[in-house]
Each structure stands twice: as C-alpha cells, then as structure tokens.
C-alpha cells in the first residue's frame, strides 16, 4: 500500500523524463503525457478506495522515502502521505489534469515546441501532487515552488512574445514574495516545534513528532519587542497567509494572475484556475490548527478573501479579453475560498475549491475552444454569434457559466451557498454582504460574456469560426457533466464531503438556509439575465476596438475597473521604479565610488606614503640619528606606560 502512493506522483514524473530525454515527436509526447497522468488517476482511485476501507481514525498513509535533510539540529524526511484531504486534492489534480492533457493534444497540435509543452505539463502534475501529498512543510514547499516553476515555464511557453516572457517572470517573482514569508513561517515552526512534519511519523525506527498535533503548546507564547509582543501563533499563521496570498493570487499579490493568461489556454485551465492557485487554500486548510489558534490572523484571512473577491469581481465585468474575464473571476472565486478559511469553514472552502476546479477548467477549456475555433481571437469585441458555429462549446460553456454564477442545481450553487450560509450563521455580516454582492457581480459578468461571445452576430468577419475536434470537445462534455452533478458530493442533506474530511478537519455539517439560498438564486438568475440582456440588446454598440456600452454611464470608473483599480500601476511606481533607482545608484555610484573608492584611496595612500618614505632616504646621517632617537624615546615611553 505504501509503495502505491509513490506511484501517484512518480508516474507523471516518468512522463516528464521521457518527454525531456527520449521523445522527440508530437504524437508520442501527447499520448505518453496524457496516458501517464490518466494512469496516475487510476492509481489514485485505487489507493483512495483502499484508504476508504480503513477505519476512519486510521485513514492516513504516510510513507517516508529517505532522510532529506540531516544537518544536526535540522532533520526533515522526504515523505509523502495520503489522507482524506490529500485524497480529494489528488483526485482533482489527476482527474482534471488528465482531461486537460488530452485536450492539449488537440489544442497544441502543430506547435513548434509541443514536446516540451507536455514535459512541463507532466512536471507540473508531479509537483502539484507533491504539494498536496507532502507529509511535511518542506515537501509541500518543494511542490509549491515546483508548480511555480512550471507556471513560469508554461506562461512563457511562447517566450518569443515579450508580454509572455514578462508575465512569466512576473508570476514567479510575485510568488517568490509570498514564498519568502512561507520560508520564514517554516523557520519559525521548526524553531518552536522541532519538526516540520504535519503528523507524527517514524523515520528509520525513530519517532518524529508532528507540529499540527502540538499547536496547543505555543498558545500563549509570544515574541517581538516587549512593548508590542506578538502571539507566536499569529506570527506564524500570518506569514503563512502572506504565502497563500502569493500562490492563490489574493490581494495584494493577485497582480500576476491576469497577466499569466499569456500562456496557452489549457495551462490557464489547469494551473491558473483548477489546481495551482488553489495551493494556498489547501495549505491553509492543512495547517488549519495554526490558524485556529490565532483569531487575529483569522480576521485578516477573512478580510483578505472578501476584499479580493470584490476587487477581482469588479475588475472582471470590465474586461474585453475572454480569458482575462475568467482570470479575474478566478481571483474572485479564490477570494471566496480564502474567506471561507477565514471563517473556519474549511470544508466549504475545499468544497468550493473542488467544484470551482471543475467548472472553471470547463470555462477555460471552453474559451480555449473558442480561441482555437476563431483562429486565435481573444478579444470579445471581435466575437459574437458563435452559438451556431460552435454548438458543443456553447452548451458546455453555458453549463460552466451557470455553475459559476450559482444557478441551482449546478455545482457552484451548492458550494457557494455553503460559504454564504456559514457567514450568515456565524454573523460575519460585513463579509456576507461583500460576498453576496460579489456573487451578483459574478452572475452579471458571466451573462455579459456569454452574450458577447455566443449571441448576436459575429462582429469581426475576418475569420471563419468552426467547432473544435473531438479530442477537445469530449473533455468539455465530461467536465460539463461534472459541473452539473459535482455539487452532489456535499449536498446539505448528504454532506458526504464533510464526513469524508472529518478525520482531518473535525467539522460538522452546517445548516442549510432556504431563505438565503432562495435570495442567492434569485439574485444569480436575475443578474445573469441582466448581464445577458444588456449586452444582447446593446450588441450593436460594441465595436472592435471601441468602448463598452456601460462606459457612457460610468466614465473613467470603467477604465479603473478594467485596470483592476490600478494596483499594478501603483506597484510599478512605488516599488519597481524605486528599486531600479536604488539598484542603479548602488551599482553605478555607491559601489564603484564609495566602497571601491575607499579601497583604491587606501591603495593610493600607500603609494604616496611610499614615495614620501623614499625621500626620507636622504643619506644624511644627522637625519637618521634624529629619527633613531625619536624612535627610541617613543618605544621606551610606550614600555614604561604599558608594562607597569
């Protein structure tokens, strides 16, 4: 059983190695890459079936491969585990991952570097699996940065485009800021618990403790200056929160995700919607004990999530790029999940993570199908009326949009409702209102998008739109089915997911609030219809390269929304440019003239002093005698003073 769980991440890794070192042609590359991820999915299903066969409290399989770091005080095993929480993540990663691999065979057909593309994709799945299966923080971090690397590689897949290259670097660097905080959190965890393992584990016959089981030990401890002590749990969990804002694209570090859309669309679906960006939510859920120990951090988490949801939701309504709408929507939905974590509703967060993973992957793949069928058009102003040309894409997209908007009984409705219901029952009123408003915005911008893309008439007629091939539409259909029935895993009456996660999260199922559900549904339906109606009835006013019809009424505010409240520009002015200035100053002025100037100055001084001393060699005996006498006096007085 233990070796079986190693197969889950290793199968995609074999695919990576094959695609890097052996395979040189498109067809085998795609088949091997997809086949191995699918195989990984099958193994995962088998392993999880066996896991489910165990008694509830024993459902955790840990396997340590070798001792990774053994540096005296610091010891970290290289180990992975499968428990109920990891299990659902593994299913999402390998299941959706396999579908997206298959889809990529069609989407990337004819690309110049397609073999490399599949290699990166396989490596991504491997790293994502390490992220969700690691049995300690450092393995989680290995996956965490590994997926960041793959994200960099895949965003930059078409690196000839300057924008893609810049977006790739930006994504990695912004993530690194969060990662630095993550590292500090790990250092603090190790310093206080003496371990980075989540749970107790036996390494080479020696029992190492797990820190999640020991969190109560640090409650009440604090650090920092005496005039402002900070609770230890708050410090650690806050650092983890910063880490999560990087990876899960939360305010204030969300700016990399919209740019990341420069990558191929299946990548956006897999990495920047379904899996990688949910890493932060997974991590906070895994270390839930630390967050629970700090009400202060929890408040921050809640506000970060809620504000991110709102900011990104408002930005999404003003985008023209079909993928940027979805990107901001992803940021917004991640805000929902983070807010759920902040409320302590971790099951709801994971539930929304899973359903969102399915329907957002569906939407991205649908948009990819649109882009593919319209010959690389991404500007929605150039689309319109694609309903007839691309029926399968249209219908599946409609399902995905409905699920995202929260239309009953699609998957998104149930998971979003669970978050709102929890906010209501625990009296988080401000956040409830913000999240509710955001869900109205969500419905609106999806209605707008569907109207702009699929309804009306085609505004740019330079291309001939066509439906995508079966290798792309079949994954769409499978995901659409998932988006319809996905909510069933945690219906208010069955709450299967809550029970499954109970050994990890110890949560009880929340109550279903029919009034809230009714209001939310009415709002979703109404706003979707409004968005759709506004942009079908005003379709004539949408011009290629023109302004949005709403611009007439909102003016510059609309531009502000389109730029996501100018956060990016703020960073450019406040951080990036001053940093460049500082770098230039240090490199061109301070280092050569300040530090090195001093060094060279000392060198020149000795050169000068040498020249002076040379002149002392005058040859006059009386001069020598004088200097000699002075020297003797100096030495004698020194000895008299200091050797008493």
């Amino acid at each position: 059983m233990e070796w079986l769980i190693w197969l889950i991440p290793l199968l995609p890794f074999v695919g990576f190695l094959l695609n890097v070192f052996v395979i040189r042609h498109e067809r085998p590359a795609g088949l091997v890459a997809s086949g191995l991820v699918a195989a990984s999915f099958v193994v995962a299903v088998t392993a999880i079936a066996m896991l489910a066969g165990l008694p509830e409290e024993e459902r955790r399989i840990i396997s340590v491969g070798w001792e990774w770091i053994n540096a005296g005080d610091l010891r970290v095993p290289f180990g992975i585990m499968l428990d109920p929480l990891s299990a659902v993540m593994v299913l999402l990663v390998t299941g959706v991952g396999a579908l997206i691999h298959f889809y990529s065979i069609g989407y990337m057909h004819g690309d110049a570097r397609v073999v490399r593309y599949f290699a990166y994709l396989n490596l991504f799945v491997t790293m994502m699996l390490f992220l969700v299966m690691g049995n300690n923080m450092l393995i989680l971090f290995l996956g965490w940065e590994g997926v960041g690397l793959c994200s960099f590689l895949l965003i930059g897949h078409w690196f000839e485009r300057k924008s893609a290259a810049a977006a790739a670097v930006k994504a990695f660097v912004v993530n690194r800021i969060g990662d630095a905080a993550f590292i500090l959190a790990m250092l603090a965890i190790y310093a206080n618990f003496g371990t980075l393992n989540f749970y107790e584990v036996t390494v080479a016959g020696e029992v190492q403790p797990g820190f999640l089981e020991r969190v109560p030990e640090i409650i009440g401890q604090s650090f920092g200056p005496s005039w402002q002590p900070i609770a230890l749990a708050t410090g650690i969990s806050f650092l983890l929160l910063i880490g999560a804002t990087g990876k899960s694209a939360q305010f204030p570090l969300f700016v990399w995700l919209p740019d990341a859309m420069a990558g191929p669309t299946p990548v956006s679906a897999l990495i920047h919607a379904a899996t990688m960006v949910t890493g932060g939510v997974y991590m906070m859920t895994r270390t839930e004990a630390l967050f629970a120990a700090s009400p202060a951090t929890q408040t921050w988490v809640l506000w970060v999530g809620a504000l991110t949801a709102l900011i990104a939701g408002t930005a999404a309504i003003a985008q023209w790029d079909i993928k940027r709408v979805l990107a901001y929507s992803t940021v917004s939905q991640l805000g929902f999940m983070v807010a759920a974590c902040g409320m302590g509703a971790y099951v709801a967060a994971i539930f929304h993570l899973l359903t969102h993973g399915i329907f957002k992957a569906l939407l991205f793949l649908g948009s990819g199908s649109v882009i593919h069928g319209t010959h690389d058009t991404q500007d929605m102003r150039k689309m319109g009326g694609l309903r007839t040309a691309m029926p399968t894409t249209y219908w599946t997209y409609l399902v995905g949009a409905g699920a995202l908007a929260g239309i009953v009984p699609l998957a998104g409705f149930w998971s979003k409702d669970e978050i709102l219901a929890h906010a209501l029952s625990h009296n988080h009123w401000p956040q409830l209102i913000i999240l509710f408003l955001t869900s109205l915005l969500t419905a609106f911008y999806m209605g707008r998008q569907v109207a702009l893309v699929f309804f009306g008439t085609q505004r740019d007629t330079h291309y001939h739109a066509h439906e995508s091939g079966r290798v792309m539409t079949v994954p769409l259909i499978v995901l659409a089915v998932g988006a319809v029935i996905g909510g069933a895993i945690n219906l208010p009456w069955g709450h299967w997911l809550t029970d499954w996660l109970h050994p990890v999260l110890h949560e009880e199922a929340g109550s279903f609030n029919p009034v809230l559900a009714l209001i939310a549904t009415a709002g979703a339906v109404g706003m979707s219809y409004l968005g759709w109606w506004l942009y079908t009835s005003n379709a004539a006013k949408v011009k290629v390269g023109g302004k949005d019809p709403a611009y007439r009424y909102t003016g510059d505010i609309w531009d502000g929304l389109e730029e996501a409240w100018y956060v990016d520009r703020l960073y450019e002015r406040v951080i990036v440019q001053p940093f460049r200035g500082l770098g230039d100053f240090l490199a061109r002025v301070f280092d050569p003239q300040g530090i090195d100037g001093l060094v060279l100055g000392i060198g020149r001084f000795f050169g000068w002093a040498g020249a002076q001393v040379r002149e002392l060699q005058s040859g006059y005996v009386r001069t020598y005698a004088l200097v000699f006498t002075a020297g003797v006096v100096l030495v004698l007085s020194f000895m008299l003073i200091f050797t008493r």
């Binding site: 070798w66 990774w68 540096a71 971090f141 000839e160 670097v169 630095a180 500090l184 490199a587 530090i595």
Partner: protein
C-alpha cells in the same frame, strides 16, 4: 598512520602533471590540453577514495580534531613545523569540489583559451595543488604557504589571459587579498609563540608546534589559554584575511573586477573554489581556535553578511554585464554562507559547508554558461542578446536549471543549503528572527536578478541578426555543463549524502564552541 598516502597523491598529482607539461613543446596546444585533462581526471579518480574511505568519527577525547587519512612527516623540528595532512568532515567535500571542478575547467579551455595554452594548463594544475593544499594542510606554516601560493597562479591567469583591463584587475586582486593574509601571518606567528610560551611553563624544553590539531587540543583542554583581548585580536587577524577572500561585504570590490577580466576557466575556479578558502578558513580557524571571540563577534559579522546578501543582490540586478551580474550574485550567496557559519550551531555550519559546495557548482556553471555565449559573440552585454532559447534550446534548458539552482529552487542543491543556513541562523540565540526577516529578501531578489538575466538573454524575440546563427552547445560544452548538473540535482534531492559525513566534525566544532565558552565564563570574575 601506516596506510597509503592518498592525500599526498591527490595533492601532488596536479603538480606532477604540471612538471610533465614542461616537457611538452610550447606550441603543441592539443597535447598540453590532453595531458592536463588526463592528470585532472586521474586526480579526480584518486580523490574518490576519500569519501569512499571516509568513516565519520567522533572527536578525540583530548580535543584534537578527528582527522582521517593523516600523514605527518617532521619538516622543521626546531619550529615544530611538519608536513602534516589530513581531512575531516569540514574539508572532505571541499577537496572533492576542487578535484571535481578541475577536469571540467580544463575541458572548457578547449573552447576558451587560445594563447599560450601549455602555460595556462601548467598554472591551472599548480593552482589545483595549492587549493587542495589549503584544505588538507594541518600545519599552520604549510597552510599559509599553500594559501599564499594560490595567489600567484591566479594572478597570472588573470594578468595574462584576462580581458582588456587585465593587469589592473590582477594587481588589485593580488594586493587586496595579499594585504589581508599578511595580518594572518602575524596571527599565525603570534599563536605559535603564545602556545609555546604557555606550554613551556609546564614542560621545559617544549619546542612549540604549528600543528593545527594540537593547538586546538591545547586550547580545548585548557593548557593553552588566550586572554580575551588577545583572542579577539588573533580572531580579527584571521578573520580579515578570510573575509576578504570570501568576500564579505564591504571587502568585495576586488571580486567583480577579477571576475570580469579573468578568463572563463579562471572565473570558474575563482568562484568555485578560491572563495571557499575563506569560508573554510572561518570554520577551521575562527570557530575552532577562537570560540569565545567568534561568539563575541557573531552578531556584528552576521549583520555584515545580511547586508552583503541584500546589497549583492540589488547590485547584481542593476548590472548590464552578465559576468558582473554573476560576480555580484556571489557576494550575495557568500553572505548566506558567512551567516550560516556565524550561526555557530550545527545546522548553520553544515548548511554553510553544503552551500559552499553548492555555490561552487552553480556559480561555476554560471560562469561557464556566460563563457559559452562570450566565445560565440564576444560580448557579455545583456542588451546584445534576446530570444536565444529559440536557437540554443539545450543551452537554454541547462541555463535555466543552473539559474534556478542558484536562486534556491527546492529540489535543487541551492535550496537545501540556504534553508539549512537560515534555519541555523534562526535557531542561533545570538541571531534569531530579525536577521532572517532581512536575509529572506535575498531569496526573493535572487529570483529577480536571475530571472531578469534569463528573460533578457533567452526570452523575447530573436531580433538581433547576429544571434540568429548561434550554434547550440557542442559536445564538449554539453559534457562540461551536464557534469555540473548531475550533482546540482543529486544534492537537491539527496543532500543527506553530503551532510551525513560532515556531521561528526561539525558537531565537534560546535561542541568546542559551547564547551570552551562555558569554561571561559566560569573563569571570568
């Protein structure tokens, strides 16, 4: 020890090769290269016996160092100097790093050295002996001789085979590092005299010793005591020499000049091994012999190290010359190593040793990588490049791997070293989290400047017509770079392989710190 003198073999093989090269006609470049390569490979093979035969051993009870492969032949008995060699867990992997880099560097000269090839190889082999000598010499005089001798071949390599401003750079390199070591010589003499006086009081006729292990034992057992002021003075004299060599901020300004002017092979050795002489010296002398002073100075040194981490990274970011960028990145990375050493605990010191190896591999590889482009285009300006990945895919892939290793991506070697160092510094009672709060910016900035390098050179449009005909790596370049990638990945996934054997010695150093300090505190009024 009555066994085969394996250390002497590893130490003198390159010199023998250099002597053999004297017999080669000056203009027969190919033959000179082949002989040098053969010698380097033989040295590497001989040195493999070291880790294979190395048995991690606990410290001896009398406080002397737990050395292995010891060879000791009296040399100048009236001074107590001997030809004394030995390695422990601190020096084992540094010797291996040197013998591993040597064939790689020599292989790279096929593409990068085109004049006076024979003499170049002779100097390179002599330099190898000197560097290995520094790591294995267990006698202060012998150590000092090797230490100073590394300067001569390196200065000549820069001054003869360097770039346009080579004479200035060579002279700066020589004078700067030499002035640091003069103080060290004074300290060595002082240490010798004080030790002899201290022991002669109890044992009349004691001739004195220059044996490092014996002096360490005397200090630890308490028969040789230094008063705190003198200890700090000696500590400072040694430290200055090492800090310049490392180089620790603000003693770093010789490094960019030396790197920019040095030939590729010289840069690889300079960054790969020569800088490590400094970090090795800090552990071997400053920590082992002067524990109280080390503890006293640790916070101040750590501040300099952290400044170096951030300063080096920011300055690296602003460079337009690739080699200068990599040179300043060394300042940043070596700052981490010094931080780890002066964490004064096992995690910190082990991390520092491991990171010394990692930095040698990654930065050595980065200099080779810059050399590859320089040989093709004769410029190192970032602005001259862009979109190279398209025409040089293998080269691009390897560069990315090496850059990420340097930037500390988990799964590759750099991360393990950096994390271990940071954990050590975090746990150190003298340092703690405020230091890390700053040092961790080095991790962010490393990604910034390395990915900026990568983005400008490899990504974007291939718009410069001169770059469109670039050839991907030839077989020789591929072998040299791939050989470096193997340990980069291996040490990332299984660092325990290297960390394991060094633990006993590191524990010895750290225990020495703890015990001596405890004893000293009792003695103070």
């Amino acid at each position: 020890m009555e066994s085969f003198p394996i250390l002497s073999l590893v130490l003198w093989l390159p010199t023998l090769g250099a002597l053999a090269l004297l017999a080669v006609p000056r203009d027969n470049a190919e033959l000179a290269r082949r002989i040098a390569l053969m010698v380097a490979v033989l040295t590497l093979l001989a040195s493999l016996a070291l880790p294979l035969g190395y048995a991690p051993a606990a410290a001896a009870s009398d406080g002397s160092l737990a050395l292995q492969f010891v060879e000791r032949v009296p040399w100048l008995p009236m001074l107590g100097a001997s030809y004394s060699l030995g390695i422990d867990g601190v020096s084992l992997w540094l010797v291996m790093l040197t013998t591993f880099l040597l064939p790689i560097v020599i292989l790279s000269t096929w593409d990068s050295v085109h004049k006076e090839v024979r003499n170049f190889q002779i100097l390179m082999l002599l330099l190898a002996t000197a560097m290995i000598g520094v790591f294995v010499a267990m006698d202060l005089l012998l150590f000092y001789i090797f230490w100073e001798f590394t300067l001569i071949p390196m200065t000549l390599l820069i001054g003869i085979w360097g770039g346009s401003n080579r004479v200035f750079a060579a002279r700066k390199f020589f004078l700067y590092t030499f002035s640091g070591s003069v103080l060290m010589l004074l300290a060595i003499i002082g240490l010798y005299v004080l030790n002899r006086e201290a022991l002669a009081a109890a044992q009349p006729g004691y001739p004195g010793t220059l044996d490092i292990s014996a002096i360490a034992a005397n200090l630890r057992s308490g028969v040789f005591r230094l008063d705190p002021a003198m200890e700090r003075l000696l500590f400072g004299a040694f430290f200055l020499a090492f800090a310049i060599k490392v180089p620790l901020w603000p003693f770093h300004t010789w490094l960019p000049d030396a790197h920019v002017e040095a030939p590729t092979a010289g840069s690889v050795i300079l960054a790969g091994v020569l800088l490590k002489l400094g970090s090795y010296g800090m552990i071997r002398f400053n920590l082992t012999l002067f524990p109280e002073a080390a503890r006293w100075a640790a916070p101040a040194i750590a501040v300099l190290a952290v400044i170096g981490i951030i300063y080096g990274a920011i300055v690296a970011f602003a460079q337009t010359d690739m080699k200068k960028l990599v040179a300043y990145s060394s300042v940043s990375h070596m700052g981490f190593i010094v931080l780890g050493i002066f964490a004064l605990n096992r995690a910190g010191v082990s991390g520092a040793i491991l990171q010394s190896i990692n930095h040698g591999l990654s930065t050595g590889a980065l200099f080779l990588i810059v050399g590859v482009l320089y040989e093709r285009r004769h410029t190192r300006e970032l602005a001259a490049y862009g979109g190279i990945w398209k025409v040089m895919p293998v080269y691009g892939g390897i560069t990315l791997l090496v850059a990420l290793s340097s930037a500390g991506l988990p799964g590759l070697n750099g991360f393990v070293g950096e994390y271990t160092i940071m954990q050590g510094a975090f746990l150190a009672p003298e340092l703690g989290w405020p230091f890390l709060g700053f040092a961790v910016f080095g991790v962010v900035l490393a990604a910034v400047y390395l990915l900026r390098l990568y983005q400008t050179v490899f990504m974007g449009e291939l718009d410069n017509p001169e770059n469109q005909g670039l050839q991907d790596l030839n077989r020789r370049e591929l072998v040299t770079l791939a050989a470096l990638c193997v340990p980069i990945v291996a040490l990332g996934l299984y660092p325990a392989f290297a960390l394991g054997p060094m633990q006993a010695s590191v524990a010895d150093v750290v225990n020495g710190l703890a015990n001596t300090v405890a004893g000293r505190i009792d003695l103070l009024p």
